[in-house]
């Protein structure tokens, strides 16, 4: 069973002066269990609309979607999901501890397990010291971490995160990546949207690129990186012991290696030069726009 199955999902909003805005066009996508899926796209591409539709916050105009086999129209579909909204806000009169207790109780956690999980999560997210303070006194980064806390409190099978790195400092971002990789290790599915391509590169198994409401491409990050090799940097040591660096286009590597060997040189290092995921992303955007 796939963790997330989206089939022909479309969403049209009513715009001003009787216009209609197609925010999502026939989106189909599956995300497996134990997979980290990055959902990439420029502002207004439809990332948040997709996520809000999955979470039942927006009703789709057409199509359907299931989370862990349960149709999203039922609140039961959200039982095994942890969701972090974009720029999250929580009842600011509650403390982080109270809010996690509220979320945990809603998910039916028994009090003993809830207390244990709450302590673990608050410590993991470095909120333990501030746990009793009302959230109105928290910084943006701390609120974001509470958001991650309420995602993790009930140990969901599917984590849907809308811009999870937003508002976090580098340490916080590293922590989020660590959490994502840990979730994957434990067989959980992580579906997250982001603008930050480096984050996708470092943690994702697959990436989906959405533009103007249409899914443009779904690729394995590893494949993009392999396909994206355009050449190699060779570090050579000549017979005199000196080192030089040489750039060789992708197709000329074999010839270059043979040539170095013939000349009595030694290749000490081969480093691929690849088009980054950013280049791949920009190529798609430019191709679509131009």
């Amino acid at each position: 069973m796939n963790a997330i199955e989206i089939s022909g999902l479309s969403k049209t909003f009513k715009g001003k002066r009787f216009t209609r805005v197609e925010a999502l066009k026939n989106l189909s996508l599956t995300v497996g269990q134990g997979e980290i899926f990055g959902f990439l796209g420029p502002n207004g591409a439809g990332k948040s609309t997709t996520i809000k539709t999955l979470m039942g916050l927006i009703e789709p105009s057409a199509g359907s979607a299931c989370i862990m086999g349960i149709d999203i129209s039922s609140p039961k579909a959200r039982r095994r999901v942890g969701y972090l909204p974009e720029n999250p806000a929580f009842y600011d009169y509650l403390s982080a501890e109270e809010y996690l207790a509220f979320v945990g109780t809603t998910f039916g956690l028994d009090p003993e397990l809830l207390a244990k999980r709450s302590e673990e999560v608050l410590k993991q997210l470095e909120l333990w010291e501030a746990r009793k303070r009302p959230m109105r006194s928290y910084s943006k980064g701390m609120v974001q971490r509470v958001g991650l806390g309420q995602v993790l409190i009930h140990d969901p099978d599917v984590c849907i995160l809308d811009e999870p790195m937003s508002g976090l400092d580098p340490v916080g971002r590293a922590l989020v990546k660590e959490i994502m990789l840990d979730l994957k290790k434990r067989g959980k599915c992580v579906f997250f949207s982001t603008h930050i391509i480096a984050d996708v590169e470092s943690v994702c198994d697959r990436v989906g690129i959405i533009l103007k409401g249409e899914l443009q491409s779904v690729e394995r990050v590893e494949d993009i990186m392999t396909r994206g090799v355009v050449g190699y940097y060779l570090t050579l040591r000549d017979s005199g012991g000196g080192t030089t660096e040489l750039y060789v286009p992708k197709d000329e590597l074999s010839g270059a290696l043979a040539s170095v060997r013939d000349q009595g040189g030694e290749v000490t290092l081969i480093e691929p030069r690849r088009k980054s995921l950013e280049d791949f992303f920009l190529d798609i955007i430019k191709g679509r726009n131009g």
Binding site: K52, M55, V81, T106
Partner: protein, 263 residues
């Protein structure tokens, strides 16, 4: 739903609006002194002032807490996280409603207790001609709370259709004013002096009387102040009216809210 009710009550206790409105309750201890301005009916005046102050405080709470509860959640984007929990929107809406309703009942109970202390003090110093009928006073406070719970349902309904706080607040105040006067208007148009009005106006007034909530049905102040016996049938009918009317309002609110896009 209980979790939503609990955090709603907790939120109100920590809300600045509640703290501000609570300041009005500080006037209750002044009532014994103010009541002495009446030379003859000191106790009756103390009962009147106490019940009116309680009613005013409950009105403010129902309008401001009821009118802003849902709106604030949407405005501050709390709904994104709460509605993504495995609960239905109806559960959330009813949780918010019952949270504020419970709070109104708690406030009514506390203020009713303080008022009974105030009236006891006044009655001890200025014995009234008629004995104070405590049951009537307690029932009057309870039915006042019921009245504002019905008004709260109106406020919740307005909140589900509005994107600003203007409609929930001012719509609720308007509904309260109209609903408090509808009985008098109905009585007038059906009296002999009301016959001078055109049939269309009389029919419109009658239709509005049946459609709009009738808040004057909950007013037991005269019974409380003068110890006039209460009709059991009337009380049961009023409770049934509250239950049915609030259920209709909340059902409509739930349908509208379930369709609302959380963009």
């Amino acid at each position: 739903m209980f979790d939503i009710v609990r955090i709603t009550v907790k939120g109100i206790f920590r809300d600045r609006v509640f703290h501000g409105i609570l300041m009005a309750a500080l006037l209750l201890p002044l009532i014994p002194s103010i009541s002495q301005l009446s030379m003859r009916q000191v106790t009756e005046l103390s009962v009147t002032l106490s019940l009116s102050l309680i009613s005013f405080i409950l009105l403010l709470l129902a309008v401001f807490l009821g009118g802003t509860s849902l709106w604030k959640d949407m405005e501050r984007r709390y709904t994104f996280s709460v509605l993504s929990l495995p609960i239905t929107r109806t559960t959330y809406l009813l949780g918010r409603f019952f949270g504020v309703a419970l709070f109104l009942l708690i406030t009514a109970a506390v203020l009713g207790f303080v008022a009974s202390v105030v009236v006891t003090i006044v009655a001890g110093n200025f014995p009234p001609d008629r004995p104070v009928v405590w049951n009537n006073i307690y029932l009057c406070v309870l039915f006042d709370a019921f009245k504002y719970i019905l008004l709260l349902a109106v406020a919740v309904l307005f909140s589900t259709v509005s994107t600003s706080f203007f409609l929930p607040i001012f719509g609720t105040i308007s509904a309260f004013l109209v609903g408090s006067a509808s009985q008098q208007v109905y009585d007038y148009v059906h009296s002999s002096s009301g016959q001078v009005l055109s049939p269309l106006v009389r029919q419109a007034a009658t239709a509005l009387y049946y459609v709009l909530p009738n808040f004057s049905a909950f007013d037991l102040k005269v019974n409380a102040i003068y110890g006039v016996p209460l009709s059991t049938g009337g009380i049961v009918l009023t409770v049934c009216y509250l239950v049915v009317y609030a259920a209709v309002l909340l059902s409509v609110a739930a349908i509208i809210f379930s369709k609302r896009e959380m963009k």
